[in-house]
């Protein structure tokens, strides 16, 4: 009886930790975006928010933003379809937030005689689960556009849905080569495979085995996050997007979903192509360097190193995505479609054929 109680408690703690991690990262990603864009545009960036005169380079800014958003008027237009209008941001939010359940944050943690997997749900189809949930997120866009009952919002929603569904094809195809190399759909096994060594010194990370797959996946995933240079669905100032009729906290949810998608894409890039929580040459008892040296570490230090490695890789990709978002101008719509269908899809097919040929050699 107490055993099941402990198990339930552990799962509950894991869910809370993962969600808090995701939301805290989202909160501070807004701060990072402001500061990084300021640096790129030679400005200072948000630095005025303070608590009792303490400002620490604007670190309180996300809280000030959140308070502002909560107290804005939540205006629902009289001509909209009210129930769906309210539902749409929650649909978007739910299907992004739930993907965090399948991400492995680290290997196992041993406390006493209990082993805890640092992953909420270890599916044997974890990769497909994430793709399925991301593909359902599209309904948030379509329904918000339609329920607003505004022609511009509807067109924006359709534009967004067309973009997301086109790039999903390339996104899925680019992963097939990866599944062929690491023969599993279970994310924890994919990460474990990446701990092996190639030629005795190079870790078997996805980026070394699937460079083309990585490029296609990165570009398609950028389009999935609906941020510049792929921000046609939203078009913040020029073309009217699908959440034009939203205000206050509901609009805030759509904005948070964008940032959460950036984080989820970063965790996916880390897990699939950069070894997840693997640190090069770190085994469960310490470092074993290929040139012969050894550095033995205790279990807790190894687990901490692995979780830290996962976080550092995720933050690197968040930084990279913000850099891309503030560097490149927006695509034209026909360029966007050509890029997805005529470049990324053929490249991913080439990747599958090439992987197959190399594997049979």
């Amino acid at each position: 009886m107490t055993e099941t109680l402990y198990e339930t408690l552990i799962i509950f703690i894991k869910i809370v930790c993962a969600l808090v991690w995701l939301l805290a990262c989202t909160l501070y990603l807004t701060w990072l975006e402001r500061k990084e864009s300021a640096l790129i545009q030679d400005r200072v960036g948000a630095n005025r928010a303070s608590i009792f005169g303490i400002r620490i380079i604007g670190l309180f800014q996300p809280f000030a933003d959140a308070i502002k958003m909560i107290f804005k008027e939540d205006f629902v237009p009289s001509f909209s379809r009210k129930f769906l209008h309210t539902m749409a941001p929650f649909i978007s939010f739910f299907f992004v937030a739930i993907t965090i359940t399948a991400i492995p944050f680290g290997d196992t943690l041993r406390i006493g005689n209990r082993t805890i997997h640092l992953q909420i749900l270890d599916f044997n189809v974890g990769l497909l689960f994430i793709l399925a949930m991301l593909s359902l997120g599209i309904y948030g866009i379509i329904i918000s556009g339609w329920a607003s009952n505004n022609k511009y919002a509807l067109i924006g929603g359709m534009r967004g849905a067309a973009q997301v569904i086109s790039y999903e094809v390339a996104l899925g195809l680019s992963l097939i080569g990866l599944i062929m190399v690491y023969p599993s759909l279970r994310l924890s096994s994919i990460v474990l495979y990446q701990g092996e060594l190639l030629f005795g010194f190079l870790p078997k990370w996805g980026i070394f085995l699937q460079p083309l797959g990585f490029v296609v996946f990165l570009l398609a995933a950028l389009a999935e996050t609906k941020r510049a240079p792929f921000d046609l669905p939203e078009g913040e100032s020029e073309i009217i997007g699908f959440f034009t009729e939203y205000s206050g906290l509901k609009w805030g949810l759509f904005m948070m979903v964008d940032f959460m998608e950036v984080i989820i894409v970063s965790t996916l890039l880390t897990t699939l192509f950069f070894g997840g929580w693997q640190v090069p040459w770190l085994a469960s008892d310490g470092f074993h360097f290929p040139w012969g040296g050894e550095l033995l570490l205790s279990h807790v230090v190894v687990v901490l190193l692995q979780v830290a490695a996962f976080n550092i890789k995720v933050f690197f990709f968040c930084w990279l995505q913000i850099l891309i978002r503030w560097t490149y101008p927006r695509f034209r719509y026909d360029q966007l479609m050509d890029f997805g269908w005529k470049l990324l899809v053929p490249l991913s097919l080439v990747n599958i054929i090439g992987t197959g040929i190399i594997m049979t050699l």
């Binding site: 769906l84 599916f123 044997n124 189809v125 497909l128 689960f129 793709l131 399925a132 593909s135 359902l136 599209i138 309904y139 379509i142 329904i143 556009g145 339609w146 509807l154 359709m158 849905a161 569904i165 023969p183 759909l185």
Partner: protein, 164 residues
Amino acid sequence: MGYFLFFLLAVMTVGAVLGMIISKNQAYNAIFLILAFACMGGLFALLEAPFIAVVQIIIYAGAIMVLFIFVVMMINVHSGISAEKKKWIIYLSPVLAVILIIELILSIKGAFSLPVSTEIIKAGPTDLGRLLFTKYLYHFEITSILIIAALVGAIVLVKKKEKK
């Protein structure tokens, strides 16, 4: 917990299908159908068949219904059906209903004569892939050719004729 989830999902599935039939707005019909498909995915997951569950959601809820919703929301049909067509509906619908009832009775009969082997359902992606490429290779290939033919046909029909 399993029973609770099963009844929750079952009630939601049936409710969504009923909503789909009763609702008169096509967009709502499509949304109810998506809900039903998503709940079906949940039911498959409860049967310890996560692969089928995820594929059900990706293909039906994630891909096919998006196209339905696209068309329904863009066209937005308001006008009812003309009187001439209504006559046809009155004559045709009882026939279709009888056929549907016969089909339902047969399928319910089949459901009672268990056990149906659940090995295929519970098979993971590896087993399923192996079966598709060995035992069911011809079925699989013929299906894929049919799908590609339909795709090419749709593009040819839609494409505007070039001026000579």
